[in-house]
């Protein structure tokens, strides 16, 4: 066996996994070759603590000739390292860098100290009169705030009473009737809507059975002719009545011109107050709006001809 073949089998020989003829050949080569014998003795010897230390900054020199210093990368991760938010492997890599890099290690120590120091700087005690000065300056605001709260509370309490009073239901019924007349009344765009709807249904028969279709057609004819009879007898009166109502409404609406203009102005004042965050002015504007709404309603609800006939009632 030559030296090259011996070296190929050296690891197995040291591990005592080399067996049979190969082992015998290797041992025979060892007896004949002093160099290989010395190598095996060296490999089998225990470390005695006198291992040769690498020269200073060997790692630094190697890094300079390969990837360059890793300080920049380490500093990118240093804050997360100090905060403990790095993954285990990244934290280990940064720690190894810090072990060998004094500037970065110093920077890390400073970051740790600052992390403890900076939060204690959040609070700085002002002089003893500061709180009283702030409270004194917010007194007018607090008064306005209290007035606004009172106004809002009053409105909240008033609203259910307004809704529950008996007259409110009558007023609601009056307005609802007017709306229906204005939508479906004669000579208005929606007047013929019910008949048109029936025509549309007739144009699209949904039921194939001729008997059922005839029965439905007869029912439709009866409904239409009945409705026409009713309209012929009462339609004229309804139309005249609705015209009277419309005229009356137009007159009442004209009487509210001035109040509506006031209301528009008040709304502008309210918007300004809200924009300026001035609760006092907003409350005043709300009160005026409430008063104007009352006047508006009085003018809408009152009958001037009645008032002219009977001024004492007013």
């Amino acid at each position: 066996m030559d030296c090259r073949s011996f070296l190929d089998r050296l690891e197995a020989l040291l591990d005592e996994t080399l067996g049979g003829d190969a082992r015998r050949a290797a041992e025979e080569h060892l007896r004949e070759c002093a160099d290989c014998r010395q190598l095996v003795e060296l490999a089998r010897s225990e470390p005695d603590g006198t291992a040769v230390e690498p020269p200073d900054n060997l790692a630094g020199s190697i890094l300079e000739r390969t990837s360059g210093p890793a300080c920049e990368t380490a500093r990118d991760r240093l804050c997360d390292y100090v905060d403990g938010s790095l993954s285990e492997i990244d934290a280990e890599l940064v720690r190894l860098h810090l072990d060998g890099c004094e500037p970065c290690e110093g920077l890390a120590s400073t970051l740790v100290s600052l992390a403890g120091e900076l939060p204690t700087m959040a609070e700085i005690e002002p002089d003893s009169a500061f709180a009283n000065d702030v409270l004194a300056r917010t007194v007018p605001l607090r008064r306005r705030f209290a007035r606004r709260l009172e106004t809002l509370t009053a409105i909240r309490e008033l609203w259910p009473r307004v809704v529950r009073r008996p007259r409110f239901a009558l007023e609601g019924a009056y307005v609802g009737t007017l709306v229906l007349v204005l939508i479906f009344g004669p000579n208005l765009p929606l007047a013929g809507v019910p008949e048109k709807a029936i025509d549309m249904i007739r144009a699209r028969p949904l039921i194939e059975s001729s008997e059922a279709r005839d029965r439905i057609a007869r029912m439709e004819n009866r409904v239409v002719s009945g409705a026409r009879d009713i309209w012929d007898t009462t339609g004229g009166e309804v139309a005249a009545g609705s015209r009277r109502v419309a005229t009356d409404l137009a007159q009442r609406y004209e009487r509210t011109d001035e109040t509506r203009s006031d209301l528009g102005r008040r709304a502008g004042e309210l918007v300004d107050a809200v924009r300026d965050a001035d609760p006092g002015a907003a409350a005043t504007a709300l009160q005026k709006i409430g008063s104007d709404l009352g006047t508006l309603w009085e003018r809408l609800a009152s009958n001037e001809s009645e008032e002219r006939d009977n001024p004492v009632r007013r």
């Binding site: 110093g106 920077l107 400073t110 100290s113 600052l114 992390a115 959040a122 700085i124 002002p126 917010t138």
Partner: protein
């Protein structure tokens, strides 16, 4: 002591006592914020009062489920920035005067420890003075006032990633400046 959300809610309902408690509880923090932005005790005192008045006016705009601290700091920061713009000057890059530095000391157990704390704080202030406005504000909002990164991103209307990298850069810059002033700091 009442939790902060309850205190703010009571203030919204017009409770004078709650408002007084709020002012006393936050006066040091608000004054500290104003002082860090303006670096002038008189200006800071004036702006801190304005901040409280503005907070009182805006109580209605505070959402119940919101954390009050970022909201308070947002109001405070806006007023400080407005005042700085009005003064048309960035915070003076000068050492903290001795009389003002004495305000910054915490209640340390001994005069020696208090003196050391004061020295360290003056050092940090000097390091902060040399930083850019953006980095100094990052240190103020995150490290000093304790806001989270997402809260700062919302406040400054910047992407979270930008805020995170700026925060790291600011911390490294501050640490580097502190070490340049005193290499033994943190050792």
């Amino acid at each position: 002591m009442a939790d902060l959300a309850t205190l703010v809610e009571r203030c919204r309902r017009g409770d004078d006592l709650a408002w007084e408690a709020f002012v006393r509880r936050f006066q040091a923090r608000i004054y500290g914020l104003a002082f860090h932005y303006l670096r002038d005790s008189e200006e800071a005192r004036d702006v801190a009062q304005e901040i409280f008045i503005q907070i009182y006016r805006k109580l209605d705009s505070f959402r119940e489920n919101e954390n009050p601290v970022p909201w308070i700091l947002r109001v405070g920061r806006n007023l400080c920035i407005d005042r700085l713009r009005r003064l048309k000057a960035r915070p003076p890059a000068v050492d903290i005067p001795a009389d003002e530095a004495s305000e910054l000391t915490a209640s340390d157990p001994s005069p020696e420890a208090a003196a050391e704390t004061e020295v360290q704080r003056r050092l940090v202030y000097r390091a902060l003075d040399g930083m850019s406005d953006k980095n100094r504000e990052m240190i103020l909002l995150k490290e000093i006032q304790g806001l989270k990164l997402d809260e700062i991103a919302t406040l400054l209307k910047e992407p979270l990633g930008t805020i995170k990298s700026r925060s790291n850069r600011a911390r490294i810059e501050l640490a580097t400046r502190v070490r340049a002033l005193d290499p033994s700091y943190g050792a």
